[in-house]
Amino acid sequence: MNNLGFFLREAFKNMRLNALMSATAITTTAICILILGAGMLVSAHVQGALFRVSQDVEINAFFPEGVSDEEIEQTRSSVEGYPEVERVTYVSKDEALERYKEIFAESPDLYEGLPTDALPASLEVQLYDSSDSDAVASKLEAEGTFEDLRYPQQTIERVNEFVGYVTWAMRGATALFLVASVLLIFNTIRLSIFARRKEIEVMKLVGASDSFVRTPFVLEGLVQGLIGAAIAALVVLWANSAFVSWAQEQIPYFAVSSSAVNIPFMLLVLLGVGVVVGIVGSYLSVRRFMKI
């Protein structure tokens, strides 16, 4: 390790002297990682939006006429105790009418003259996971206090199925991007080291050990990978925040949220891929020219 200073100086000096090659390697890395990052962003947002759509599904359980406040309270606390249930909202007859009026505010003839108790009271049951809706529905039925249950079971199933497909498609696409990036970066590094194979030969002839020859190249690969990935990561971060604020303003009905992207994780992946590919790529490339 006391050679670290020497190796670092060598690495940076080589990058400066082979500026064009370094720039090529950095640019290639940046572009590849950028594509990878874009893929991850799209994937995260699509999944996030679908997940939130599926989360918005709720079960409406209607109470019959003449149910007592006590019964309502009892049922409500019982339902709140279900492990699958995230939130329960009680909608009284008055509130139901208010909502109805709000929805049809444009055409007052639809509600004028309705008696105040025309609509039934109900519980709005929000689940943690919409795939539990069948199970929860049968529990609600077993309570015996409800007259009617309404939940879009088919929609839920379809949405869940769709989310599953999309998730796998996105993972596949991301994996393909990853493979393509790795190969492209590898190739660029190989070319830049190929251009310097004579140097490697000379180093070996004056008695440099493999690791002595290799280390500056590997450090160079690491630094290039890191710089390329960092550039790409900055662009991806900027694109993400720009997209989120644009979407929230222009297409509010799509549930785009900044919380859909796990930013620390994504940065870790992008920088990690850059660094690892840089290191492994240069390690393997140098090795090919050291068999002397």
Binding site: N3, F6, K13, N14, L17, N18, K198, E199, E201, V202, M203, K204, L205, V206, G207, A208, S209, D210, F212, I292
Partner: protein, 227 residues
């Protein structure tokens, strides 16, 4: 110091480069290895550096059998042999001083030692004014002197030169040969492969002549040819 015992080297394309060579070079000797291109001179040098293995026979350098040196130990072995090549083999991205320094750095020497030693050795080869020039800015003779400085900076017991004057004009060649001669006088074993007839005739050193991979002549104070 250097011993070839019944060494044969056959390349993959079945060219016989060395055919049962026996040769002993003692410590402190100055030996010319002469012969035409393809006579086996370069093959002998590459075998000595363990760039490749002989097909048969044993080679001993500095008391060690080369076949017993593992791949991992090859760099250590090479540090005992300073090398000068026809095409100089300098690192193009390093200045004259840095090229010489690199040969010390590979052996893990301290920066301070490197800093004091490099100017000394470049002064010795007469290049103290061109320390910071890159190989591309130096003439052939100057590059070869850098290369000699690099080969000798760690004071290896053996110095090998493969056609060191092959790319140089006669006057420059004399300078390089004088340098090698001085290095030999302080006790270094020097082996020079060459077909520079005049040089060999002038120096009157031991001459080993190769022909088609065989040693055909070995004279203590020889010339390029028999006469």
């Amino acid at each position: 110091m250097i011993y070839f015992d019944n060494v044969t080297k056959v390349y993959e394309n079945e060219t016989v480069a060395l055919d049962n060579v026996n040769l002993g070079i003692e410590s402190g000797e100055f030996v010319f290895l002469v012969g035409q291109s393809g006579s086996g001179k370069s093959t002998m040098i590459r075998l000595l550096l363990k760039e490749m293995e002989p097909s048969a026979g044993t080679i001993r350098v500095n008391g060690l059998k080369l076949s017993g040196i593992s791949r991992r130990e090859v760099p250590v072995h090479r540090r005992n042999i300073g090398c000068v090549f026809q095409d100089f083999k300098l690192l193009p991205n390093k200045t004259a001083a840095e090229n010489v320094a690199y040969a010390m750095e590979v052996t893990g020497q301290k920066r301070r030692t490197v800093r004091t030693k490099v100017p000394q050795i470049l002064d010795l080869v007469g290049l103290s004014s061109k320390m910071d020039k890159y190989p591309g800015q130096l003439s052939g003779g100057e590059q070869q002197r850098v290369s000699v400085a690099r080969a000798f900076v760690s004071q290896p017991p053996i110095l090998i030169a493969d056609e060191p004057t092959g790319n140089l004009d006669p006057d420059t060649s004399v300078g390089i040969m004088q340098l090698l001669h001085r290095i030999n006088r302080i006790g270094t074993t020097v082996l020079v492969a060459t077909h520079d007839r005049e040089m060999v005739d002038v120096m009157r050193k031991r001459v080993v002549a190769l022909e088609n991979g065989r040693v055909v002549r070995d004279m203590v104070r020889g010339g390029y040819t028999n006469e």
